[in-house]
């Protein structure tokens, strides 16, 4: 299967307000795609629409299966893990409980236990804090926890909404390094929404630029990195 995700004519609505206008995009299997654009361009909306968290029209096909009308939890069970804006931490549960929640969804508990070890390998800081209330973790740790929760679902596709948001540069570097490892070792395809364009372009091999709910341009990340006019116009640097 060449493409893990194919989206055609996606429009999304917040009540009567339309936020996305018939956008098309694809994500190659095993690839990392970045979704860039200014504030309000519709990046987070796209991720929410993919998971059917908001009203949407159009088709989304995940590895050959149509997920356009499925409820969020079913899409997740089919292999899509969404690391949401704001991290979505279960503040009242411990770190361990946040991760073990995946056991409810996964059939193969032995595999899930192995993944728990894997996650602790990637993020040793979480292993030190298993019994701590997740709400008391720092921003960076909560981001690690959010990514770990997604990993625990053994996804085929990970959607990440602004993973660098509110984090110190060093922490962001570490997280993006780990994301690359996850992509390469666990073969997880990724769709990353980022404001920090430079960082996203380093990680991604393909880019879509959004502006006010429409795709303005797309191509390999090298193309965007090398095109100064494009960068200045849409990404501000």
């Amino acid at each position: 299967m060449p493409n893990i995700l194919e989206v055609k004519g996606l429009s999304a609505y917040y009540g009567p307000i339309r936020a996305l206008f018939d956008i098309d995009f694809t994500i190659a299997t095993g690839g990392v795609t970045a979704l860039l654009g200014a504030n309000g361009a519709g990046k987070t909306t796209t991720l929410r629409a993919l998971c059917n968290m908001i009203r949407r029209t159009g088709t989304s096909v995940l590895a050959g299966q149509d997920i356009s009308r499925k409820p969020t939890e079913d899409i997740v069970r089919m292999g899509v893990a969404h690391v949401p804006e704001g991290r979505g931490t279960f503040a009242g549960l411990t770190v361990e409980e946040n991760l073990k929640l995946a056991f409810h969804t996964r059939r193969d508990h032995a595999a899930a236990r192995r993944d728990l070890e894997l996650v602790f390998d990637y993020f040793p800081r979480l292993k030190e804090r298993t019994k701590q209330q997740a709400g008391t973790l720092s921003g960076g740790e909560q981001q690690m926890l959010a990514i770990s929760r997604a990993l625990m679902l053994a996804p085929r596709l990970m959607l990440l909404d602004e993973p660098s948001f509110g984090l110190a540069p060093l922490v962001v570097q570490e997280i993006f390094r780990i994301l690359r490892r996850i992509n390469e070792h666990e073969k997880v395809s990724m769709l990353i929404v980022e404001q920090n364009a430079a960082l996203a372009l380093e990680l991604a091999d393909h880019v879509y630029l959004l502006e006010t709910g429409k795709v303005v341009t797309s191509g390999p990340s090298s193309m965007v990195q090398n095109d100064e006019t494009l960068r200045k116009a849409y990404l501000g640097y």
Partner: protein, 290 residues
């Protein structure tokens, strides 16, 4: 001194029952933000089912177990088919819905089993172990059954995956969906459990107050009082609150205001807590963001 101990023992027994009702209320509140006004009538209805089973010759504990299962199923079905369609309706519509359920259960109970008061057996031997008239076996039994049930629930919620999923769904439904949890079913399960807990409360109290369709009305508002005292968002607090209110009710009723004002006392607690300390002893106040 003996008399005081008797009152405290009696208070703890009532407290155990209030704790059960409060726990059911809090479970529904935590997962759905709704106050189930029909909790008492559902418990009463379940108790009548138990009575019918026992009258049919089924041994007590078997009937007990069956009733708990039936109550669980009933609660689950009510959430799925009656409440879920209204999940986005305004508060008033939901309040009306709960009142409707209250009326229907009360009326049907009266219809099937009439309003004549019935006796409900206690599974515990009569008499008291201390020989001084301090506590009866039934009172000890009620507290013991409540304690066992609470222990089972605690284990379920703390140590099983399903319990974890239910807690997650209640705390953060959006994130829970993103973890693949079927949140709607978790809500239905929560209702089922609340109904089951209520049925236990009903079966424990019926031997004391006798079985009639209006048996649970007064107990329900004490359940509210207990839940509010403990903090309506807090299951553990609800249990503590229930016991506190039970003991207070007995002591205040005996020594201060007489037993004919017990319901007014519940009202005072409810209004007092809501005005003075809405978060209760253990809860947190939700600040409304504009």
């Amino acid at each position: 001194m003996e008399f005081l101990l008797q009152q405290i023992a009696s208070g703890l027994t009532s407290g155990a029952i209030y704790a059960c009702v409060a726990l059911g209320l809090v479970m529904i509140y935590v997962s759905t933000d709704h106050i189930n006004f029909a909790q008492g009538e559902m418990a009463m209805f379940a108790t009548y089912i138990a009575w019918t089973l026992i009258q049919a010759g089924i041994p007590y504990w078997v009937a007990f177990g069956l009733t708990v299962l039936i109550a669980f199923t009933g609660g689950l079905l009510i959430q799925r088919f009656i409440l879920k369609p209204l999940e986005h309706a305004p508060v008033l519509a939901l309040v009306v819905c709960f009142i409707a359920l209250l009326s229907i259960f009360n009326a049907i109970a009266g219809m099937i089993w009439s309003y004549t008061v019935k006796q409900f057996p206690s599974p515990f031997p009569s008499g008291d172990p201390t020989g001084h008239g301090l506590v009866s076996y039934h009172q000890i039994g009620v507290v013991a059954v409540t304690a066992i049930m609470l222990a089972v629930l605690t284990v379920f919620f703390r140590f099983t995956t399903l319990g974890l999923a239910m807690r997650a769904a209640a705390q953060n439904p959006a994130s829970a969906r993103l973890m693949g949890v079927r949140v709607s079913w978790m809500l239905a399960l929560g209702w089922g459990l609340a109904a089951a807990i209520g049925s236990v409360a009903g079966m424990m109290v019926a031997p004391i107050v006798f079985l009639d369709p209006n048996m649970m009305t007064g107990i329900l508002i004490y359940g509210f009082a207990g839940a509010l005292v403990g903090g309506i968002g807090n299951p553990g607090g609800a249990v503590v609150g229930g016991f506190v209110v039970g003991v207070l009710e007995n002591l205040v009723g005996t020594y201060l205001i007489g037993n004919e004002l017990k319901l007014t006392f519940a009202l005072v607690i409810v209004v007092g807590v809501l005005i003075l300390k809405p978060a209760g002893l253990f809860g947190r106040v939700n600040v409304k963001r504009v």
